[in-house]
Symmetry: C2
Subunit: 179 residues, 2 copies
DNA sequence: CCGAACATGTAAGCCGTTACATGATTTA
DNA sequence: TAAATCATGTAACGGCTTACATGTTCGG
């Protein structure tokens, strides 16, 4: 259950409400663990019942903002989880499935999809590079900053690799272009 | 629904039964789109009902092998799907979540998990390199071969990238090692 | 002919996605 | 004060995982 622990992390960085959490997710942890607001509200309710967080003021149900903060039990749980043995990540990439299919039923116009995907990776790379310039220019970062920078660099590297891969794919597809 | 189309691809490459399909998946398409035998049986039943495949002989229910082959409608569907607009892939990587958490609650012994993960990537890389030597030594591959090779190379590249990333991570974690 | 391995299948639970609903707050 | 927006939540569905169940074939 990575989402609950991602939420604990975000709430430790800065206590806030569900909607603010959803906004912050969209431009930080959500880059490598996306979540919609529905998921976030459901999960917040769950981990509150577990005693890992508490919601502070209103209690008056719907429509009112509820701010959460992490309880000691939540921080302990997060510490425990960080070093828990990791089960192998499951990779799932649709483009690779499509390429295998194209090898059988092609040539097709798959190149159009690959081009679109390359554009998305390029846009994302540019965005990440902006974040890097903005948030990680400090010449003498502390430990936490270096770790967060490392995570961003993983994203940057990943986008670059996919752009390269799309280029290679396009050159192979082009050789027997259906037109 | 990538799984159904991955199954169509595998069945086009070579018609076979569910259990054989599950075996073959484990050492080809399953590298980038894993599936258990339960998923595969369920999905086969589904796409047979859709009229994309047909099962040949026994029909006598449980325990008996059932061989499937792709119908023309299935091949048409696969062709359609290959060029269908792709929705952005969703990335989900637990290690990156852990690193963000470690930046807050650390230092911890996360390095142990990172080392384990690096070992897994190294093992997988070695395996992929063996496959490459075995299946892609042909000096003059045809289009389909080149595309399949490309997919394997994506896997090789990915493993190398993760190994590098684990190394960098370990060096940053080591600087403030708990002990 | 009996037990092990094989082949297929069922069931429950979790997580994620999508669509929709309702109460509160802001703004024109 | 009505409409738009914000904040929270419900409901339904689908795919994946895990555990289990049932029938068939094969090897000793």
């Amino acid at each position: 259950m990575s989402l609950s622990h991602a939420l604990l992390t975000a709430l430790l960085e800065h206590p806030c409400s569900g909607s603010e959490l959803a906004d912050r997710f969209d431009r930080s942890i959500g880059y490598f663990w996306p979540a919609t607001h529905q998921q976030i509200y459901r999960e917040l309710a769950g981990i509150e019942k577990s005693g890992w967080i508490e919601s502070l003021p209103p209690e008056s149900g719907r429509g009112r903002k509820r701010d959460y903060r992490v309880l000691p039990a939540g921080e302990a749980e997060l510490k425990r989880w960080v070093v828990e043995p990791q089960n192998p990540r499951t990779v799932r990439d649709e483009l690779l499935v499509r390429l295998r299919a194209e090898a059988i039923v092609g040539p097709t116009y798959l190149q159009v999809g690959v081009e679109q995907r390359m554009l998305r990776h390029q846009a994302r790379l540019a965005h990440y590079l902006n974040l890097e310039r903005r948030d990680f220019s400090n010449p003498d970062p502390d430990r936490a900053q270096r770790l967060r920078h490392l995570v961003l660099q993983a994203g940057i590297d990943s986008e670059r690799r996919w752009i390269d891969f799309c280029r290679t794919t396009l050159s192979i597809l082009a050789e027997t272009n259906p037109r």
